[in-house]
C-alpha cells in the first residue's frame, strides 16, 4: 500500500472512530443493568433494558406515536409538495422566485419562535395530543425541503416526457400517479427520507403539542430522566430510536446524495 493509501486508511479509521464511539458507549450502556432489580444485579450484562421497554406500555406507545406522526408528515409533504415541485420545475410564473424565498424563510425559522402561537392555534382547532397536529406542524420545515428535492429530480426529466403522456390522453392527475411518480421514484425516496429524519429527531413542536397524551419517543426519553436516572434504559430507548433512521439510510444509500441540487 502506498503512503497516501495508508494516510487515507488512518483518516478513515479516525473518522469512523469519532462517529461510532458515542454509539458504542450507548450500546454498551443499553446492555447493562444500571439500576438493577430483583434477580438482576447492578452491572449485569444482557437484554434486561430492552425487555423493560417492551413491558412498559408508555414506552411502547411512544414508539407507535412517533411512527404515526412521522409517517403522516411524509405523506402530507409528498401530497402537497409534488404539485408545487412540478409547477416550479416546469413553468416560470409571476412570483415564482418569491415563492421559493418564502419557503426558504420558513425552513430557517427557529421552531422556538413559532411554538407559542402554534400551541394556541392548534388548541383552538382541537389538534393538541393528536398525531395529525404534529405531522402538520412539521411541514413548516419539511415541506420546503421536499419541494426543493422533488423539483431538482423533476427538472432532470425532459419536458417531452410530460407531453408524450398528455398526447396519449392522460389527465394531469393520471400523469402524476402513473408516469411522474414512477419516473422520479428515487427523488420521492430521498424526499421521504429527509422528511422522515427531520420529523423523527425534532423535539420542540413535538413537545408542546403533546400535553397529556400522544407523547413521542423523544419525550418518552426525556421523561426517563429523574432523580435517579436509569441510564441503561435511557440508552436502550435511544438505540431503539435509531433503528428506523438507520434502516432508512440503508434503503436510500445510493440516492441520498442527489437531493439537494437546488436552483434559486
Amino acid at each position: 500500500m502506498t503512503r497516501a493509501g495508508l494516510l487515507r486508511l488512518a483518516g478513515c479509521i479516525a473518522l469512523a472512530g469519532f462517529v461510532v464511539l458515542p454509539l458504542v458507549q450507548a450500546m454498551a450502556l443499553s446492555l447493562t443493568a444500571t439500576l438493577g432489580a430483583e434477580g438482576v444485579p447492578v452491572g449485569s450484562f444482557g437484554l434486561y433494558n430492552y425487555i423493560n421497554i417492551i413491558q412498559r406500555p408508555d414506552l411502547r406507545a411512544s414508539i407507535g406515536n412517533s411512527v404515526t406522526y412521522v409517517s403522516l408528515n411524509v405523506v402530507f409533504c409528498l401530497i402537497a409538495g409534488l404539485p408545487a415541485a412540478y409547477g416550479l420545475a416546469r413553468f416560470r410564473f409571476v412570483g415564482d422566485r418569491h415563492f421559493l424565498m418564502f419557503l426558504l424563510a420558513f425552513r430557517v425559522t427557529p421552531p422556538v419562535v413559532l411554538s407559542l402561537p402554534i400551541f394556541i392555534l392548534f388548541a383552538r382547532v382541537g389538534m393538541i395530543n393528536s398525531p395529525v397536529g404534529i405531522a402538520l406542524v412539521h411541514c413548516v420545515f419539511n415541506l420546503p425541503i421536499a419541494i426543493w428535492i422533488l423539483e431538482s429530480f423533476i427538472a432532470a426529466i425532459p419536458r417531452s416526457f410530460d407531453e408524450m403522456a398528455f398526447i396519449d390522453g392522460h389527465s394531469r392527475s393520471g400523469f402524476f400517479v402513473r408516469f411522474l411518480i414512477p419516473a422520479i421514484a428515487p427523488g420521492v425516496a430521498v424526499a421521504a427520507f429527509f422528511c422522515f429524519i427531520f420529523s423523527w429527531v425534532e423535539v420542540v413542536f413535538a413537545r408542546i403539542l403533546t400535553v397529556s397524551a400522544g407523547k413521542p419517543i423523544t419525550q418518552a426519553i426525556t421523561a426517563l430522566f429523574t432523580f435517579q436516572t436509569d441510564w441503561g434504559l435511557v440508552m436502550a430507548m435511544t438505540v431503539f430510536s435509531l433503528v428506523p433512521g438507520v434502516l432508512m439510510i440503508f434503503l436510500v444509500r445510493n440516492h441520498i446524495a442527489r437531493g439537494f441540487v437546488i436552483r434559486t
Partner: protein
C-alpha cells in the same frame, strides 16, 4: 427554457394552504403578541414597541448575539473544510467502502436532537469510554466550569451531529464531475490545488451552498444541545440567542418572548438574505470567466 404560465400558481395551492396555516398565521400572531403585555389570554395590554426597546438596549442581548455569531462562524469553518476533505478522501476509495463510510457518517443525523448531547455526556463520564481515554491521555475536560472547555465540547458535539450532511452533499457533487475534466487537467499538468479550485469547487458549490445555509441558520439558533450540556453556563459563556428566548418562554413572559422571537427572526432572515446576495454576486463573477 421553461414556458411562462401563471396558471402554475394553481399547483402551489396545496403547499401554500399548509404553509399559511402552520407558518404564516402563527408568525402574524407572534408579531401581534410582540406589541402586547400578556398576563393571560384574556388580559392583554398594548405596549407598542416597548419590548423591542428593552431588548435592543440590553447589553446581554448583544453579548448573546456576538456569541451566536462566533459559534456559527466556528462551526462552519470547522465542518465545511473537514466535510470537503473527507468527501475528497472518500472519492479516492473503492465505492463499496465509500458507501459504508457515508452510511456511518449519516447515523448521527438520525439521532433524536434531545439525545445528541446525552450520548456525549454518557461517553465522557469518568467511567465512560471517552472519560477513560481522556484520563489515559492525562487530559481533563471541565465542561461545567471552564468556558473554553464548554465551547469545545459544544463544537465537538455539533460537528459530530452534522458532519455527515456536509460529506454526503460534497461527495454527491464530486461524483457528478465528468472524467474528461480531470483528463484535461492532467494534460495541462495542473496542480492538485488548481484541480480543486477550478474543477471540483465549482462543481460542488451548488450542494455546498445549501448545506452552508442550513448549517448557518441551525447553528445560529442552536438550543437543545447547549441546554443539555451546561444550560448556557458557565457564567453565561454559552448563552446564545435561542437560550435567552427559551428562558423567557419558560418564564411565561409571552409578550417579551414574542418580541425577542421577532428580533431573532429578523436576524436570521438578514443572514439568509446576505447569503443569497453573496451567492448571486459569486455566480455573476463565475459567469465572467470564460
Amino acid at each position: 427554457m421553461k414556458p411562462h404560465n401563471n396558471a402554475a400558481w394553481a399547483l402551489m395551492i396545496p403547499a401554500g394552504v399548509v404553509m399559511i396555516f402552520v407558518a404564516v398565521l402563527p408568525m402574524l400572531a407572534v408579531l401581534n403578541y410582540s406589541f402586547h403585555d400578556i398576563f393571560s389570554l384574556d388580559k392583554v395590554l398594548w405596549v407598542g414597541t416597548d419590548w423591542y426597546k428593552l431588548i435592543v438596549t440590553a447589553p446581554r442581548f448583544w453579548a448573546s448575539l456576538g456569541r451566536s455569531a462566533l459559534f456559527s462562524t466556528l462551526a462552519i469553518s470547522i465542518q465545511l473544510p473537514l466535510g470537503i476533505a473527507t468527501a475528497l478522501m472518500l472519492r479516492k476509495m473503492q465505492p463499496v467502502w465509500a458507501t459504508v463510510m457515508l452510511m456511518c457518517l449519516s447515523i448521527p443525523l438520525v439521532v433524536p436532537t434531545n439525545m445528541i448531547a446525552g450520548l456525549w455526556l454518557a461517553l465522557l463520564r469518568p467511567e465512560g469510554l471517552g472519560g477513560q481515554i481522556l484520563s489515559a491521555l492525562h487530559l481533563y475536560l471541565d465542561y461545567k466550569f471552564t468556558a473554553v472547555h464548554t465551547w469545545a465540547l459544544i463544537l465537538l458535539v455539533d460537528t459530530w451531529h452534522w458532519l455527515g450532511l456536509v460529506v454526503v452533499l460534497a461527495y454527491a457533487g464530486l461524483s457528478s464531475i465528468q472524467p474528461a475534466y480531470y483528463q484535461a487537467a492532467a494534460v495541462d499538468s495542473a496542480s492538485r490545488w488548481a484541480v480543486f479550485r477550478w474543477i471540483e469547487l465549482p462543481q460542488i458549490s451548488g450542494a455546498l451552498w445549501i448545506v452552508m445555509l442550513l448549517r448557518l441558520v441551525d447553528s445560529f439558533m442552536i438550543y437543545t444541545e447547549v441546554m443539555t450540556i451546561n444550560a448556557g453556563g458557565p457564567n453565561d459563556a454559552t448563552t446564545f440567542l435561542s437560550l435567552e428566548l427559551g428562558e423567557e418562554i419558560k418564564a411565561y413572559s409571552y409578550g417579551t418572548a414574542a418580541a425577542r422571537a421577532m428580533v431573532d427572526f429578523v436576524f436570521v432572515l438578514t443572514l439568509v438574505w446576505v447569503f443569497v446576495k453573496l451567492r448571486e454576486v459569486g455566480k455573476q463573477a463565475a459567469g465572467d470567466i470564460p
